[in-house]
Protein backbone atom coordinates (compact mmCIF):
# COMPACT_ATOMS: atom_id res chain seq x y z
CA UNK A 1 0.00 0.00 0.00
CA UNK A 2 1.23 3.44 -0.90
CA UNK A 3 -0.10 6.62 0.66
CA UNK A 4 0.11 9.69 -1.58
CA UNK A 5 -0.09 12.51 0.91
CA UNK A 6 0.50 16.19 1.39
CA UNK A 7 3.85 17.18 2.95
CA UNK A 8 2.16 18.01 6.26
CA UNK A 9 0.73 14.48 6.45
CA UNK A 10 4.03 12.89 5.50
CA UNK A 11 5.63 14.56 8.49
CA UNK A 12 2.84 13.30 10.74
CA UNK A 13 3.39 9.75 9.52
CA UNK A 14 7.12 9.67 10.19
CA UNK A 15 6.56 7.77 13.41
CA UNK A 16 4.34 5.18 11.77
CA UNK A 17 0.57 4.85 11.63
CA UNK A 18 -1.90 3.66 14.24
CA UNK A 19 -5.53 3.04 13.32
CA UNK A 20 -8.30 2.52 15.85
CA UNK A 21 -12.06 2.15 15.68
CA UNK A 22 -14.96 2.09 18.09
CA UNK A 23 -15.12 -1.70 17.96
CA UNK A 24 -11.78 -1.82 19.73
CA UNK A 25 -9.46 -2.53 16.84
CA UNK A 26 -6.06 -1.01 17.35
CA UNK A 27 -3.60 -1.60 14.58
CA UNK A 28 -0.11 -0.25 14.34
CA UNK A 29 1.64 0.01 11.03
CA UNK A 30 5.39 -0.01 11.61
CA UNK A 31 7.35 2.51 9.68
CA UNK A 32 8.05 1.15 6.23
CA UNK A 33 5.11 -1.24 5.83
CA UNK A 34 3.10 1.44 4.06
CA UNK A 35 5.10 3.68 1.78
CA UNK A 36 4.43 7.38 1.95
CA UNK A 37 5.03 9.71 -0.96
CA UNK A 38 4.23 13.33 -1.66
CA UNK A 39 5.16 13.10 -5.33
CA UNK A 40 2.64 11.47 -7.71
CA UNK A 41 5.46 10.60 -10.09
CA UNK A 42 6.94 8.38 -7.38
CA UNK A 43 3.70 7.00 -5.94
CA UNK A 44 1.61 6.09 -8.99
CA UNK A 45 3.68 4.19 -11.59
CA UNK A 46 3.38 0.85 -9.72
CA UNK A 47 -0.30 1.27 -8.84
CA UNK A 48 -2.82 -1.42 -9.82
CA UNK A 49 -5.62 0.44 -8.02
CA UNK A 50 -5.76 4.15 -7.18
CA UNK A 51 -8.21 5.20 -4.49
CA UNK A 52 -8.91 8.91 -4.96
CA UNK A 53 -9.75 10.58 -1.66
CA UNK A 54 -8.76 14.16 -2.31
CA UNK A 55 -11.48 16.75 -1.84
CA UNK A 56 -13.68 17.35 -4.86
CA UNK A 57 -12.15 20.74 -5.59
CA UNK A 58 -8.78 19.14 -6.20
CA UNK A 59 -10.01 16.94 -9.07
CA UNK A 60 -9.54 19.29 -11.95
CA UNK A 61 -5.90 19.84 -11.24
CA UNK A 62 -4.48 17.09 -9.08
CA UNK A 63 -6.69 14.23 -10.17
CA UNK A 64 -5.99 14.33 -13.86
CA UNK A 65 -2.36 15.24 -13.40
CA UNK A 66 -1.90 12.33 -11.00
CA UNK A 67 -3.44 9.84 -13.39
CA UNK A 68 -0.87 10.82 -16.01
CA UNK A 69 1.75 9.08 -13.88
CA UNK A 70 -0.23 5.85 -13.61
CA UNK A 71 -0.29 2.82 -15.93
CA UNK A 72 -3.15 2.79 -18.46
CA UNK A 73 -4.57 -0.37 -16.89
CA UNK A 74 -4.63 1.01 -13.36
CA UNK A 75 -8.17 1.12 -11.99
CA UNK A 76 -9.21 4.42 -10.45
CA UNK A 77 -11.84 4.43 -7.70
CA UNK A 78 -13.23 7.77 -6.58
CA UNK A 79 -14.09 7.58 -2.88
CA UNK A 80 -14.83 11.29 -2.81
CA UNK A 81 -17.96 12.89 -1.47
CA UNK A 82 -20.35 14.35 -4.00
CA UNK A 83 -22.27 12.66 -6.78
CA UNK A 84 -20.30 13.24 -9.98
CA UNK A 85 -16.60 12.97 -9.15
CA UNK A 86 -16.13 9.64 -10.93
CA UNK A 87 -17.80 11.09 -14.04
CA UNK A 88 -15.48 14.08 -13.98
CA UNK A 89 -12.39 11.92 -13.47
CA UNK A 90 -13.53 9.63 -16.30
CA UNK A 91 -13.97 12.58 -18.61
CA UNK A 92 -10.37 13.60 -18.02
CA UNK A 93 -8.78 10.34 -19.15
CA UNK A 94 -9.03 8.14 -22.24
CA UNK A 95 -10.15 4.59 -21.74
CA UNK A 96 -9.11 4.23 -18.13
CA UNK A 97 -11.47 2.37 -15.82
CA UNK A 98 -12.87 4.84 -13.29
CA UNK A 99 -15.34 3.59 -10.69
CA UNK A 100 -17.38 5.33 -8.02
CA UNK A 101 -17.22 4.34 -4.39
CA UNK A 102 -18.58 5.64 -1.11
CA UNK A 103 -17.10 5.56 2.39
CA UNK A 104 -19.93 5.76 4.93
CA UNK A 105 -17.81 7.01 7.80
CA UNK A 106 -15.27 9.67 8.65
CA UNK A 107 -11.60 9.01 9.19
CA UNK A 108 -10.67 11.30 12.03
CA UNK A 109 -7.18 12.47 12.83
CA UNK A 110 -6.78 12.85 16.55
CA UNK A 111 -5.97 16.46 17.41
CA UNK A 112 -3.35 15.37 19.94
CA UNK A 113 -1.73 12.86 17.60
CA UNK A 114 -2.14 10.03 20.09
CA UNK A 115 -4.71 8.18 17.97
CA UNK A 116 -3.91 9.37 14.47
CA UNK A 117 -6.90 7.88 12.65
CA UNK A 118 -10.18 6.47 13.86
CA UNK A 119 -13.48 5.49 12.33
CA UNK A 120 -16.99 4.60 13.54
CA UNK A 121 -17.88 0.90 13.44
CA UNK A 122 -20.28 -1.40 11.60
CA UNK A 123 -20.30 0.27 8.26
CA UNK A 124 -19.21 -0.83 4.84
CA UNK A 125 -17.67 0.94 1.93
CA UNK A 126 -19.68 0.56 -1.24
CA UNK A 127 -18.46 0.53 -4.80
CA UNK A 128 -19.59 0.09 -8.37
CA UNK A 129 -20.90 -3.39 -9.15
CA UNK A 130 -19.71 -4.04 -12.67
CA UNK A 131 -18.37 -7.02 -14.56
CA UNK A 132 -15.00 -7.97 -13.17
CA UNK A 133 -15.25 -5.75 -10.13
CA UNK A 134 -15.99 -8.55 -7.69
CA UNK A 135 -12.25 -9.16 -7.62
CA UNK A 136 -11.66 -5.51 -6.88
CA UNK A 137 -14.07 -5.64 -3.95
CA UNK A 138 -12.22 -8.66 -2.57
CA UNK A 139 -8.90 -6.88 -3.02
CA UNK A 140 -10.00 -3.82 -1.10
CA UNK A 141 -11.89 -5.61 1.68
CA UNK A 142 -9.98 -6.30 4.86
CA UNK A 143 -11.13 -7.38 8.30
CA UNK A 144 -13.12 -4.54 9.85
CA UNK A 145 -13.24 -2.67 6.55
CA UNK A 146 -15.66 -4.53 4.29
CA UNK A 147 -16.47 -3.57 0.71
CA UNK A 148 -19.94 -4.14 -0.71
CA UNK A 149 -20.54 -3.88 -4.49
CA UNK A 150 -23.57 -1.82 -5.44
CA UNK A 151 -25.35 -1.59 -8.79
CA UNK A 152 -26.52 2.01 -8.41
CA UNK A 153 -23.76 4.14 -6.98
CA UNK A 154 -25.50 7.37 -7.91
CA UNK A 155 -28.24 6.50 -5.44
CA UNK A 156 -25.68 5.58 -2.79
CA UNK A 157 -23.80 8.84 -3.26
CA UNK A 158 -26.98 10.90 -3.14
CA UNK A 159 -27.96 9.03 0.02
CA UNK A 160 -24.73 10.01 1.74
CA UNK A 161 -25.16 13.61 0.65
CA UNK A 162 -28.66 13.72 2.10
CA UNK A 163 -27.54 12.15 5.36
CA UNK A 164 -24.70 14.65 5.64
CA UNK A 165 -27.03 17.61 5.25
CA UNK A 166 -27.52 16.85 8.94
CA UNK A 167 -23.90 17.71 9.75
CA UNK A 168 -24.54 21.37 10.46
CA UNK A 169 -27.24 20.47 12.99
CA UNK A 170 -24.93 17.93 14.61
CA UNK A 171 -22.08 20.42 14.86
CA UNK A 172 -24.23 23.24 16.18
CA UNK A 173 -26.18 21.13 18.66
CA UNK A 174 -23.25 19.08 19.92
CA UNK A 175 -25.42 15.98 19.61
CA UNK A 176 -23.84 13.14 17.64
CA UNK A 177 -25.89 11.42 14.98
CA UNK A 178 -26.20 8.33 17.18
CA UNK A 179 -27.92 10.40 19.87
CA UNK A 180 -29.82 13.00 17.91
CA UNK A 181 -32.47 10.67 16.40
CA UNK A 182 -33.64 9.75 19.89
CA UNK A 183 -34.79 13.37 20.32
CA UNK A 184 -36.27 13.80 16.88
CA UNK A 185 -39.99 14.09 16.19
CA UNK A 186 -39.81 10.88 14.20
CA UNK A 187 -38.46 9.10 17.26
CA UNK A 188 -41.60 10.09 19.16
CA UNK A 189 -43.61 7.85 16.88
CA UNK A 190 -43.55 4.38 18.50
CA UNK A 191 -43.81 2.88 15.06
CA UNK A 192 -40.68 4.64 13.90
CA UNK A 193 -38.10 4.57 16.69
CA UNK A 194 -35.22 4.93 14.28
CA UNK A 195 -35.09 7.97 12.02
CA UNK A 196 -32.65 6.23 9.69
CA UNK A 197 -35.22 3.49 9.26
CA UNK A 198 -37.88 6.09 8.52
CA UNK A 199 -35.63 7.74 5.97
CA UNK A 200 -34.98 4.36 4.40
CA UNK A 201 -38.72 3.78 4.14
CA UNK A 202 -38.91 6.98 2.12
CA UNK A 203 -36.25 5.73 -0.28
CA UNK A 204 -33.40 7.83 1.14
Amino acid sequence: MILLVRPRMEAALQGGLRITDLEGRNRSDPVGLAQNHTDPAAALPDADVILVTVKSGADAGDGRADQGHARPDAVVVSLQNGVDNADRLRAGVDGRTVLAGMVPFNVVQSPDGELPFARPPRQRRQGDDRDGDAGLARLLAVEGFAVEPHADMKAVLWGKLLMNLNNALVALSGLPLATEPCRSPLAADPGRPDRRGAASDEGI
Partner: protein, 31 residues
Protein backbone atom coordinates in the same frame (compact mmCIF):
# COMPACT_ATOMS: atom_id res chain seq x y z
CA UNK B 1 -7.29 -10.07 -8.09
CA UNK B 2 -4.94 -11.71 -5.66
CA UNK B 3 -4.52 -9.41 -2.70
CA UNK B 4 -0.84 -10.09 -2.18
CA UNK B 5 0.41 -9.05 -5.59
CA UNK B 6 -1.44 -5.81 -6.19
CA UNK B 7 -0.36 -2.31 -5.32
CA UNK B 8 -3.02 0.04 -3.96
CA UNK B 9 -2.32 3.76 -3.84
CA UNK B 10 -4.48 5.99 -1.66
CA UNK B 11 -4.29 9.46 -3.18
CA UNK B 12 -5.11 12.10 -0.60
CA UNK B 13 -4.87 9.79 2.41
CA UNK B 14 -6.09 11.37 5.61
CA UNK B 15 -9.13 13.26 4.40
CA UNK B 16 -11.49 10.46 3.42
CA UNK B 17 -15.17 10.38 4.20
CA UNK B 18 -15.82 13.83 5.61
CA UNK B 19 -18.37 16.29 4.35
CA UNK B 20 -18.11 19.81 5.73
CA UNK B 21 -19.00 19.69 9.40
CA UNK B 22 -18.80 15.92 9.65
CA UNK B 23 -15.27 15.82 11.00
CA UNK B 24 -16.10 18.50 13.53
CA UNK B 25 -19.07 16.59 14.86
CA UNK B 26 -17.14 13.31 14.82
CA UNK B 27 -14.39 14.84 16.97
CA UNK B 28 -16.99 15.73 19.56
CA UNK B 29 -18.52 12.28 19.59
CA UNK B 30 -18.41 9.73 16.77
CA UNK B 31 -21.77 9.10 15.23
Amino acid sequence: MAQEDKTVVIAGAGSIGCYAGGCLSARRAPG
